[in-house]
């Protein structure tokens, strides 16, 4: 929304935060973004600690068989989409309660950690993980709305890049902390969960203390009232609708990470012992490239970078399909996979922000995220089915073709009022 954003005198949250920066380094990342990045970093350390030790805890600690544990995931994915939309809508109501809805989400996830200490069977553990993900679903859209509202339109790509880089750093650091604790103790899963809880509480505190609330900044009077109907009506806006459709279509052709790693292992013969390290390759590339690509997106256009990111993914698929088996291939595929995330994850939010009025920012971002998440889940089901019927190579070839078609089509959906600084 170039027109609205350029009205620097609008007494909006965005204006309020930005005014503090006027006259200073125009391109500095807003303190709120750094605070939110810290919250995400700390929270990701906490949650990835648990994720990393969970299989070991279930099998070696509790003696449970984890097979079939993910059966609820399918059902939960639908619910999680609703939670995300609800989080976005709740945050917009009352003139921007982003901070408090996000805080609620972080708080729920934090409270789940000590509960793991007392749950010893699969059903309660499954419920706790579901609650943890409810918290995650609730906080994502308000947090991204806060990032977009507290940065200037010209630097949004970079703001999201900084946030995603900090987020990913936490995700890389978490497993390390968890395994160091396990190394220092005997069956120290209780210690891992306790430390994870303490870290999560610190994250919530950083949010409460250092992220400004939205209550003091009423929405622009002429902006749409943040009702549910208004949130749905956002899709009547041409730019947001186009972005949502593109995210949905591209999501439908985005093979889930675990399939990418499985294909990498099968097609390229990555040794078993490296298997667990494959996601680290993606994360490392994501971490390194999130800021540069975010900045580039600010300069050459977010949509272009978003599509280029899918080009990187297309290239990765293409490499997986070739019969070239060089030693550099796994690294190249993982680098391209990480590039894809760096060029699309935060950049999509920056691009979508341009098409959503401030009063509905959270709802608008939630709509885009939900569309993308549901499309990706549908893709993993379709991909699994295609693999069953045709085998992995043909399934991947089909996805590659679909991705190419969707990318070309999305290019034509390019938002008209894209902001380029």
């Amino acid at each position: 929304m170039y027109v609205a954003d350029s009205r620097a005198s609008t007494p909006s949250a965005e204006g309020a935060v930005r005014q503090g920066l006027a006259g200073r380094r125009r391109h500095a990342v807003a303190p709120t973004v750094l605070a939110l990045g810290t919250v995400s970093l700390v929270t990701d350390v906490s949650s990835e600690m648990v994720t990393a030790v969970l299989p070991l805890y279930l099998v070696a600690g509790l003696g449970l068989s984890p097979l079939g544990f993910g059966l609820l995931d399918g059902i939960y994915n639908g619910f999680s989409a609703l939670v995300r939309l609800a989080g976005g809508h709740l945050a917009d109501r009352g003139g921007g309660r982003h901070k408090w809805v996000a805080g609620l989400g972080y708080g729920i996830s934090a409270l789940c950690k000590p509960l793991l200490l007392v749950a010893h069977t699969l059903t309660p553990i499954g419920l706790i993980l579901a609650a943890d993900r409810t918290g995650k679903g609730l906080r994502t859209a308000p947090r991204d709305a806060l990032i977009s509202l507290s940065s200037t339109p010209e630097t949004r790509g970079r703001a999201f890049g900084v946030h995603r880089a900090m987020d990913t750093a936490g995700a890389l650091f978490g497993p390390l902390v968890a395994f160091l604790i396990l190394r220092a103790t005997v069956d120290g899963y209780d210690a891992v969960f306790t430390v994870s809880f303490c870290v999560a509480v610190a994250g919530v505190l950083v949010l409460v203390l250092f992220v400004p609330g939205g209550a003091s900044a009423p929405a622009a009077p002429e902006g749409p009232r943040p009702t549910l109907r208004a949130a749905l009506a956002l899709l009547r806006r041409r730019d947001l609708r186009r972005i949502t459709i593109a995210a949905l279509l591209l999501g439908l052709a985005t093979v889930s990470d675990s399939f990418v790693y499985l294909l990498l292992q099968r097609r390229l013969g990555v040794p078993d012992r490296w298997f667990a390290l494959l996601p680290l390759g993606t994360a490392a590339a994501f971490l390194l490239l999130a800021v540069p690509l975010g900045r580039l997106a600010d300069r050459v256009g977010r949509w272009r970078i978003f599509l280029a990111g899918h080009g990187a993914l297309l290239l990765a698929y293409g490499l997986l399909l070739t019969s070239w088996h060089g030693t550099a291939l796994p690294y190249t595929v993982l680098a391209l996979h990480g590039t894809f995330y760096a060029a699309t994850d935060g950049v999509l939010m920056a691009a979508a922000s341009d098409g959503v009025p401030e009063a509905l920012r959270s709802s608008g971002l939630a709509v885009v995220q939900t569309g993308q998440a549901l499309a990706r889940f549908a893709c993993s089901l379709l991909f699994g089915a295609a693999w069953t019927v045709w085998g992995d190579r043909t399934a991947l070839a089909a996805s590659t073709a679909a991705l190419a078609v969707c990318a070309v089509f999305s290019y034509t959906l390019r938002p008209t009022r894209e902001h380029i600084s």
Binding site: P55, G70, T185, A191, S258, L381, G384
Partner: protein, 339 residues
């Protein structure tokens, strides 16, 4: 609140949280010391010579607290509750037959643990080792001692998030030929070729001909007993709802855990024996849920582990559905009877 006071609040909270976190870690690390002390009234364990060719001995992983915790120990098969002889070799999972052993153990790295499978000769010397891609679950050796198999849990390589999968490998210990994953075998399901990305195998058991094996195949939420062929690299489904099969010494029956409807999700299994000629199922007298790949002590008796005070205890039950389960040893898992 001023910036200064906010920083102060955060700093003091971090101090408190760090203290709690540190306390939890120290408490958990103090556990190491407690476990090195021999438990009161536990089985007597003394270091000694353990070989895999002493007929009439039972070898298993000793879980009793003390200096020999997690080591392979042996006892007379006729007096499994008696004093244990500890070998000094630590394993998480173990099996042996005809002088060949397979030991799945953790390798403590600087950051995280990795796992490997050791092939042991009769004197427990390592003759080969292989990387295991996840948390060890099952181990078996063929009756001739030629083939060894193991299963590990691998986290997160399925498409539905928190799902886990298994990886099952078989190695020919005479040639060193490794099949890193049974998933590369052709599958014949209900008479037709079958493939799916969600296929998992676990719990291999070998027949005496060094060609045939049995295992569990899981796909689309169901499990099947499969018969595998090591010369044609093919597996064929035989019977539904069979997990962790264990072939009887005469090769005619399979002891296994069956998922029984109406049981709680955390304890869904009962021990059964399947007659491979008639496909008739016989429930065994054990009424608790067993999550183990059972072993045959002889043609009439099944031995398996159940959770106990120090990890797991060993039990036995008649293979024909009669009688009652009986505890034969505490703080023990992964039993192997030497013939």
């Amino acid at each position: 609140m001023t910036l200064r006071s906010r920083i102060l609040v955060l700093a003091s909270a971090v101090v408190v949280l760090t203290a709690v976190a540190l306390g939890a870690v120290l408490h958990a690390s103090a556990r190491a010391e407690r476990r090195d002390h021999t438990q009161a009234r536990g089985p007597r364990v003394a270091a000694g010579r353990v070989t895999l060719t002493d007929p009439g001995r039972l070898v298993f992983r000793n879980m009793a607290w003390g200096p020999h915790r997690d080591e392979l120990t042996s006892v007379p098969a006729t007096a499994p509750g008696g004093p244990r002889t500890a070998s000094g070799v630590k394993c998480l999972r173990f099996y042996a037959d005809s002088g060949t052993g397979v030991c799945l153990q953790a390798v403590h790295g600087p950051v995280s643990d990795t796992y490997r499978a050791l092939i042991l000769d009769a004197r427990l010397h390592t003759t080969a080792h292989y990387d295991v891609p996840g948390i060890p679950s099952r181990a078996r050796v063929s009756p001739s001692g030629r083939f060894a198999a193991w299963t590990a849990f691998v986290g997160g390589d399925s498409y539905a998030g928190t799902n886990f999968s298994t990886r099952t490998a078989i190695v020919d210990t005479t040639t060193g030929r490794l099949i890193p994953s049974l998933e590369q075998f052709r599958i014949v399901k209900d008479g037709r070729a079958y493939r799916s990305p969600d296929v998992n195998f676990w719990g291999v058991t070998f027949s005496a001909d060094d060609r045939t094996f049995y295992a569990t195949l899981a796909t689309k939420g169901r499990t099947y007993l499969i018969r595998g062929d090591l010369t044609t690299n093919t597996v064929t489904t035989l019977h539904p709802n069979v997990e962790c099969p264990s072939l009887s010494p005469d090769g005619t029956r399979i002891a296994y855990k069956k998922r029984v409807a109406g049981l709680p999700a955390d304890a869904p299994w009962r021990l059964y024996v399947l007659d491979l000629r008639t496909m008739r199922e016989t429930p065994l007298a054990e009424e608790r849920s067993v999550d183990d790949q059972a072993v045959w002590r002889d043609a009439h008796t099944i031995v398996y582990a159940l959770p106990g005070d120090y990890g797991a205890d060993l039990y036995r039950v008649p293979a024909d559905g009669t009688g009652a389960p009986q505890r034969i040893g505490s703080a023990a898992v992964s039993p192997a009877y030497l013939h």
